[in-house]
C-alpha cells in the first residue's frame, strides 16, 4: 500500500510539475470551443437565416400572393425577404450579400392559371453552402404546393384569375363581379370552401415537443462534450508519453531491480491518470456548465465519466507508446491514431453535423463510444443506465490494454 501511495504521489507531483502541458491540455479545447462557438453563433447567437432576394417580374395577383406568403411571420424565423429587381439581385448575389435570388418570371400567373408549365428561377450563392440549400428546399416545397393546388383547383383558380384581371382592367360591372363570385362560391368552388374547414381543423396534427427535461440542443451544447473529450485525449496522450520520460530517466529499469510489485506500480499509474484527467477537465467542465447553464448536479458524474474515458484512452495511448521503437515514433504514431479519432469521434464536429456513415463509424471509436452517453446525459435525453454498456466495454478494454502494457514494459520496454 505504501508503494502504491508513493507511486501515486510521485505520478501526481510529476504531472503538476508540467504546467505547460496542463495549460495545453486545458487551453487548446477551450480555444477550439471559443472559436467554433463564435463561428457558429454560440449559445445565444441569432439563428442563421436565409437571405432570400425576390424579383417579381410578373407583377400579378398570384406573384404578389406568393411574395406575401413568404414575407409572413410564419417564415420570419427562417427567411429575410428582400424585394429586388432582377439585375440588382444578381449584383447582390455576386457581392455575397444574400443566400439566393428567387425570380418570378413574367407570365407566371397566366401560365399557372392555364395549367401550363411554368418555372420559378432560383439562383443560389456559390460562396455559401447551407443557407442556399435551405432556400432551394423551400422553393421546391412551394413548387410542389403550387402543382397540387393547380391539380385540385385548376378551373376555380382560372376563374379567380379571370375575375381578378377583370377587376383590375375594369372590364366587368359590379353586378357581374358579384355574380361571378357567387357562382364560384355556389359552384365548383364549393369544394374549396368545403376543404378549407377540413384543412384548418385537420384531423392529423403534428405536435412538436422534446423529451421531458431535455434541453434545446444548440450547436455549442452538442459540441461541448466533444470538447471535453478533446481535453481528455490530449491528457491521455501526454500521460502515456510519460512512459518514455521514465524510460529515458532510467527509473523504469531501476524499478525492475526492486522488490516492488509491478501491478501496484501500474495501479498507481492508472489511479494517477484518472485523477490527473479529472483535474484537467474540471476547469473546462465547470466553465462549460456555467456558460451553458447546465445543472451542477450533473457535474460530478460528468467528471467521473471523463476520468474513466481518460483511463481507456490513456491505456490505448500507452500501448502505442510501448510498441513504438523510439520516443519520436511514439509521439508520431500517437498523433496518427488520435487525430483521426478526434475528427470522427465527435471532438471536432458534433455527430449531428456529420454524414451518417461517418457518424456510425465515429460512435464506434473509443472516444465516440464514451462521448455519446455523456452527451445524452448532459442534454437530458439519457440517464445513468445509459452509461452501463460503454462502461462495461471501457473497463474490459482498459484492463486488457493495461495488462499488455505491463507485459511489454516488463519484458522489453524497460530493459532496452
Amino acid at each position: 500500500m505504501t508503494f502504491f501511495l508513493a507511486s501515486l504521489s510521485k505520478q501526481l507531483r510529476r504531472v503538476l510539475g508540467q504546467p505547460w502541458s496542463l495549460a495545453i491540455w486545458i487551453g487548446v479545447p477551450m480555444l477550439v470551443g471559443a472559436l467554433l462557438s463564435a463561428v457558429m453563433g454560440g449559445e445565444d447567437g441569432e439563428t442563421p437565416k436565409v437571405h432570400l432576394l425576390l424579383a417579381d417580374e410578373d407583377g400579378s395577383f398570384l406573384s404578389g400572393a406568393l411574395i406575401e406568403t413568404l414575407s409572413s411571420e410564419d417564415f420570419g424565423q427562417l427567411l429575410i425577404i428582400e424585394r429586388v429587381a432582377g439585375d440588382e439581385g444578381m449584383a447582390k448575389l455576386d457581392a455575397d450579400e444574400a443566400s439566393a435570388l428567387l425570380v418570378v418570371p413574367e407570365g407566371f400567373q397566366s401560365a399557372f392559371l392555364a395549367s401550363e408549365a411554368q418555372a420559378l428561377t432560383l439562383v443560389t450563392n456559390p460562396l455559401q453552402s447551407i443557407l442556399p440549400a435551405m432556400a432551394e428546399e423551400l422553393a421546391r416545397t412551394l413548387a410542389e404546393f403550387g402543382s397540387y393546388a393547380q391539380l385540385a383547383f385548376g378551373p376555380e383558380l382560372r376563374r379567380i384569375g379571370e375575375v381578378s384581371d377583370a377587376i383590375r382592367d375594369e372590364t366587368m360591372t359590379s353586378d357581374e363581379i358579384a355574380q361571378a363570385i357567387g357562382a364560384l362560391a355556389e359552384g365548383g368552388t364549393g369544394k374549396l370552401m368545403r376543404a378549407v374547414p377540413k384543412l384548418s381543423g385537420a384531423p392529423v396534427e403534428i405536435d412538436v415537443r422534446t423529451t421531458e427535461g431535455a434541453l434545446e440542443a444548440s450547436f455549442i451544447l452538442l459540441f461541448f462534450p466533444g470538447l471535453l473529450m478533446m481535453s481528455v485525449i490530449f491528457a491521455a496522450q501526454g500521460l502515456a508519453e510519460d512512459l518514455w520520460a521514465e524510460r529515458d530517466m532510467g527509473t523504469l529499469r531501476r524499478l525492475k531491480t526492486t522488490a516492488a510489485s509491478s501491478a501496484a506500480g501500474f495501479a498507481a499509474r492508472i489511479a494517477g491518470m484518472a485523477l490527473a484527467t479529472a483535474a484537467v477537465v474540471l476547469p473546462l467542465t465547470t466553465i462549460g456548465f456555467t456558460l451553458l447553464e447546465l445543472p451542477y448536479a450533473k457535474l460530478p458524474m460528468t467528471i467521473v465519466w471523463l476520468a474513466l474515458a481518460g483511463l481507456l484512452l490513456a491505456a490505448l495511448a500507452s500501448v502505442i507508446q510501448v510498441l513504438a521503437p523510439s520516443r519520436k515514433a511514439g509521439a508520431l504514431f500517437s498523433m496518427l491514431v488520435f487525430f483521426p479519432l478526434m475528427l470522427v469521434g465527435g471532438s471536432f464536429f458534433p455527430f449531428e453535423s456529420m454524414p451518417d456513415f461517418l457518424t456510425v463509424f465515429g460512435r464506434l471509436t473509443p472516444n465516440g463510444m464514451m462521448l455519446e452517453p455523456l452527451k445524452r446525459f448532459l442534454i437530458g435525453t439519457g440517464d445513468l443506465a445509459g452509461f452501463v454498456p460503454a462502461l462495461s466495454i471501457a473497463l474490459i478494454a482498459t484492463a486488457v490494454l493495461t495488462a499488455f502494457t505491463i507485459w511489454r514494459v516488463e519484458t522489453r520496454f524497460a530493459a532496452r
Binding site: 505504501t2 508513493a6 510521485k10 530517466m249 532510467g250 527509473t251 531501476r254 531491480t257 522488490a259
Partner: protein, 309 residues
C-alpha cells in the same frame, strides 16, 4: 551474501558473459575490473535480476534471483551506471519513492530519508529538483536512492563515470561506510587505480570471461616483481626475437609490427641494454613506457592488450 556460479549470458550468437563464478562476503568490496565491453555491466544486470541469465546460478542471501526474485531483490540495492532518478521530483521525494519501492514505510522511511540526505550531503538541497543539480550532486542522489533501505548487497555499476575527483572521493567514502555496516559491495570499474584503492578482492574480466581473481596482493604476485616495458615504433619479429633470446631475464609479452611489450626485473636499469639490442636489429623506436607492477600490467600480461584500450 552473493554466490555466482557458472554465470553465462548470450545475446543471439554473441556471448557477453562466459562461465563467471565468484562469491562475496559481508563487509567486502568485490571489484569487477575490465575494459569497456568486458561483460561487467551484463554480469551486474544478471545479478540484479534485470536480465535473465542464459545459464548458471545467482544467489543473493541464499535466494535464487530467478526462482525467488522478490526475496533476492529485497536484499539488493543498485546504483546504476546511468543516472536513474526522477529529475522532476525533489531529492527528498526521490528518496521517499525509492525507499517505498524497497519496502520501507512510515517512521522508518522518514528517518532513513533524513539519514541518507546527510550521508550524501544534500540536506540543504532536499527540496530542490535534480534537474538543477550539478553532475556530482546527481551522482550522490543516485547513490542515496540505492542505499536508502540499507541493503545487504549493494551493486555499483561504474558509479564514478564522469564524476569530478572531489565527488569521487566522497562516493568512495560512502561505499566504505556501507561496508562498515556489513553490506557486501559489488563494484564495477575500468579504472585500475579505483579498484586498487577501494576493493578488497578483484576479478579481472576480458571479453566476457574472468581472467584473474584475488586480493590486490595476490594479483600483484601474479605479475611478480617484473616491470613491463612497452616500446612503440617499427619492429621485425624475427631479428627482435633473436636479439632478445640473448638477453637474460627479459621475456616478450607481445610483439606486433608497431608495438613490443616485454617483461623484466628493474625495467629502468635494463632499458639502455634493451634499446641497444632492439636498435641493433634495425628497428625504429619512437616511444618507451616503463610500468611498475600493478593491475594494469597484470591485465597486459594476461591479455596482451591495454586495460584502457
Amino acid at each position: 551474501m552473493i554466490d555466482v556460479r557458472n554465470l553465462r549470458k548470450q545475446f543471439g550468437s554473441f556471448t557477453a558473459v562466459d562461465d563467471i563464478s565468484f562469491t562475496m562476503r559481508p563487509g567486502e568490496i568485490f571489484g569487477l575490473l575490465g575494459p569497456n565491453g568486458a561483460g561487467k555491466s551484463t554480469t551486474i544486470n544478471c545479478v540484479s535480476g534485470l536480465i535473465a541469465p542464459s545459464g548458471g546460478i545467482v544467489e543473493i542471501g541464499g535466494h535464487d534471483i530467478v526462482r525467488e526474485p522478490k526475496e533476492a531483490k529485497s536484499k539488493l540495492g543498485i546504483v546504476p551506471q546511468e543516472l536513474a532518478i526522477y529529475e522532476d521530483l525533489s531529492a527528498i521525494h526521490n528518496l521517499r519513492f525509492w525507499g517505498a519501492a524497497y519496502g520501507l514505510k512510515g517512521e522508518t522511511l522518514a528517518s532513513r530519508v533524513t539519514e541518507v540526505l546527510e550521508v550524501i550531503g544534500l540536506v540543504d538541497r532536499a527540496g530542490d529538483k535534480p534537474k538543477d543539480f550539478s553532475g556530482g550532486m546527481k551522482r550522490r542522489l543516485n547513490f542515496g536512492c540505492g542505499i536508502v533501505h540499507e541493503p545487504d548487497v549493494l551493486l555499483l555499476d561504474e558509479p564514478t563515470v564522469g564524476v569530478d575527483p572531489q565527488s569521487r572521493e566522497r562516493l568512495h567514502d560512502m561505499v566504505r561506510a556501507e561496508t562498515a555496516r556489513g553490506a557486501s559491495v559489488l563494484y564495477t570499474t575500468h579504472h585500475m587505480e579505483e579498484a586498487e584503492m577501494l576493493c578488497d578482492r578483484i576479478a579481472i574480466m576480458d571479453q566476457g570471461r574472468k581472467i584473474a581473481e584475488g586480493t590486490l596482493e595476490e594479483l600483484r604476485a601474479q605479475v611478480g616483481e617484473q616491470d613491463v616495458i612497452t616500446l612503440s615504433g617499427a619492429f621485425d619479429a624475427e631479428p627482435v626475437e633473436t636479439a632478445f633470446a640473448n638477453l637474460q631475464g627479459v621475456s616478450i609479452l607481445s610483439l606486433e609490427p608497431g608495438r613490443l611489450t616485454v617483461e623484466t626485473a628493474d625495467g629502468p636499469g635494463r632499458l639502455a641494454n634493451l634499446l641497444d639490442a632492439i636498435l641493433g636489429t634495425g628497428a625504429e623506436v619512437r616511444e618507451t613506457l616503463v610500468r611498475r607492477p600493478n593491475l594494469e600490467s597484470l591485465f597486459l600480461k594476461l591479455t596482451g592488450t591495454e586495460l584502457r584500450a
